[in-house]
């Protein structure tokens, strides 16, 4: 049987083999991601429920564990309504434009030493580029819907993303200065040697800037003015229903997980153990750290009220950006004088 399979495999050309091989690798990353997204929505409702002294979903399955699947089937079988005067083509394309970069960004994430789909040199730049493309889905959705609320949401989102993208980029420049590389695996290996060598210690202000801009980039509370249920109903996706809405939802949660994972990779040593002498490194550390940041996202949503639009702009341009620029100068001095275990 195995001989037969091997002969079939060898019958393919190298290019077909390569395509199949890459496809399987992509599935190995994306299928667990979808499952995590599904249970992240469940965790969100449960965690926020308990924070607000409610029980959260507890009807479908044991303790509500099948709730994500119930939601999924509901969304799959709902009718997709396309508004009459909308721009049909762009209306359908918009969720895809949001979804595709959110998935593509995962290509360069290293899960363990050598365990990476594509180990490219400019990995960090690639992730920045991909996450910044995702905003087009939001903008196009808002415009194509031909609805005032959707357009307002898209406008808010565009302004917000432009503001926070810059702060985020500058925060990552700090990481580059310490690591001396754009490759994510190299950035993680640069932090080896225990918790004292992780980058969050020399880059603490930049870490907070990155986390805050990450929340803003994913349009999550308290920066979710693009959705703003209380003022503009649901913002850019007010006209979307069924599967098209689900795709937006999926992309948003995949982006949240991505930001959480990047926080742990760039600032908290990724798969490295905090005490390498006692405990070994491993993929479990990365997932544990990511889970903590994922919980933070939910915690923020349960705790903070939504920012006012002008205050978001003020925070981005007048607080976060000067903080990053100031800290880059400090870091430049530290790099020049080769301070501490980090800048050697």
């Amino acid at each position: 049987m195995t001989d037969f399979l091997i002969s079939i495999w060898e019958w393919f050309h190298e290019y077909v083999q390569f395509t199949i091989y890459s496809g399987v690798k992509a599935l190995i990353i994306l299928l667990p991601l979808f499952i995590v997204v599904a249970y992240y929505t469940y965790a969100e409702r449960k965690v926020i429920g308990y924070m607000q002294i409610r029980k959260g979903p507890n009807r479908v399955g044991f303790k509500g564990l099948l709730q994500p699947f119930a939601d999924m089937f509901k969304l799959m079988f709902k009718e997709i309504i396309i508004p009459t005067n909308s721009n049909r083509y762009l209306f359908i394309v918009a969720p895809v434009i949001t979804f595709a970069p959110a998935m593509a960004a995962w290509a360069v994430i290293p899960f363990d030493a050598g365990l990476v789909f594509s180990d490219i040199n400019a990995g960090l730049l690639y992730i920045l580029a991909m996450t910044s493309v995702g905003v087009y889905g939001v903008i196009i959705a808002g415009w194509a819907s031909n609805s005032k609320y959707a357009l307002l949401g898209a406008m808010r989102s565009a302004a917000q993303i432009v503001a926070y993208e810059i702060a985020m980029g500058f925060a990552l420049v700090g990481v580059l200065m310490v690591a001396g590389s754009l490759n994510l695996s190299d950035i993680v290996t640069g932090q080896s040697g225990g918790i004292g060598n992780w980058f969050f210690i020399p880059l603490l202000p930049l870490f907070f800037v990155y986390l805050i801009s990450g929340v803003a980039e994913t349009n999550r509370a308290p920066f979710d003015v693009a959705e703003g249920e209380s003022e503009i109903v649901a913002g850019f996706h007010v006209e979307y229903s069924g599967m098209t809405f689900a795709v937006f939802f999926l992309a948003e949660y995949a982006n949240m997980i991505l930001i959480a994972m990047l926080c742990s990779l760039l600032f908290f040593g990724g798969w490295l153990s905090p005490v390498p002498d006692l405990l070994g490194d491993g993929i479990g550390w990365l997932f544990g750290k990511t889970a903590v940041f994922m919980l933070l996202f939910l915690w923020f949503r349960a705790t903070f009220p939504r920012y006012r639009y002008d205050q978001i702009m003020r925070l981005g341009w007048k607080v976060l950006l000067p903080v990053t620029i100031f800290w880059l100068v400090v870091e430049g001095v530290a790099v020049y004088f080769k301070i501490g275990p980090w800048f050697v």
């Binding site: 050309h13 190298e14 290019y15 083999q17 390569f18 091989y21 690798k25 190995i28 762009l90 050598g114 365990l115 990476v116 789909f117 594509s118 180990d119 490219i120 040199n121 400019a122 730049l125 690639y126 920045l128 580029a129 910044s132 493309v133 905003v135 087009y136 903008i139 196009i140 415009w143 357009l151 898209a154 406008m155 565009a158 302004a159 993303i161 432009v162 993208e165 810059i166 754009l182 205050q311």
Partner: protein
């Protein structure tokens, strides 16, 4: 499961001439697909009626040209093109275009009137480009064909090394010009508005009870 695609050939890591030929073929195919897409979308930018569609086609043009740059092994430039132009500049463009209510019919009115001028500009630009392209610098047989770089060659590092040594003055001058442009743009548009009422958040935070609230002792009055 060691997933690593740094090796030059899929799976095996060694390159037979047969595979090398096929890689060339696939690269050519990719080039033609994206080159055609670039040309079509670039034409669409100036021909479609809706300004938002035009801006989106411009985004597509940037994206497809980034792919072509990628196939030229200019990864850093390709990713920066997407990051800077697609991710930031075009978002602002689209932001503005969506806000403006552009009357397309009025924009099209003067088409015939301005046609001679447009053609003249196009002709001059064509001449200039031909002048550059046909000069000695761009002749194809200058030197040998550039060889593909080894797998561990970092485009980013090479670019940085040149940018901060040989071209450091040009780089700094460009940076200063941009800074001047930013300051000029802000100083042109910034004006103090005296009529608008706005909140000062720091004053709001500093407020104490005693600033706003006065507890008045009133003797209770007996009703008659």
């Amino acid at each position: 499961m060691a997933i690593n695609t740094k090796s030059s050939s899929p799976l095996t890591g060694q390159q037979t001439p047969r595979i090398a030929k096929r890689i060339m073929m696939i690269e050519t195919a990719i080039f033609y697909v994206f080159a055609v897409a670039t040309v079509i979308s670039a034409c669409a930018v100036v021909t479609v009626k809706n300004p938002v569609h035009a801006a989106l086609f411009l985004v597509l043009t940037f994206f497809t040209s980034a792919v072509i740059w990628l196939s030229l092994e200019a990864e850093f430039l390709a990713i920066s093109l997407v990051l800077v132009y697609v991710g930031a500049v075009m978002v602002l463009f689209i932001f503005v275009v969506m806000m403006l209510d552009i009357n397309v019919a009025r924009l099209r009115e003067g088409f015939v009137r301005y046609l001679p001028l447009g053609l003249a500009v196009a002709a001059i630009m064509l001449l200039l480009m031909l002048n550059v392209v046909t000069s000695d610098v761009f002749v194809l047989d200058v030197g040998s064909e550039p060889l593909p770089k080894p797998a561990d060659y970092s485009n980013t590092k090479a670019l940085g090394a040149v940018l901060y040594t040989d071209y450091v003055f040009a780089f700094e001058i460009a940076a200063v010009i941009l800074l001047v442009a930013i300051i000029a743009a802000i100083s042109l548009t910034m004006r103090k508005r005296t009529q608008t009422k706005y909140q000062v958040p720091s004053d709001q935070i500093k407020v104490r009870k005693s600033d706003r609230l006065r507890v008045v002792k009133m003797p209770s009055v007996e009703e008659e």
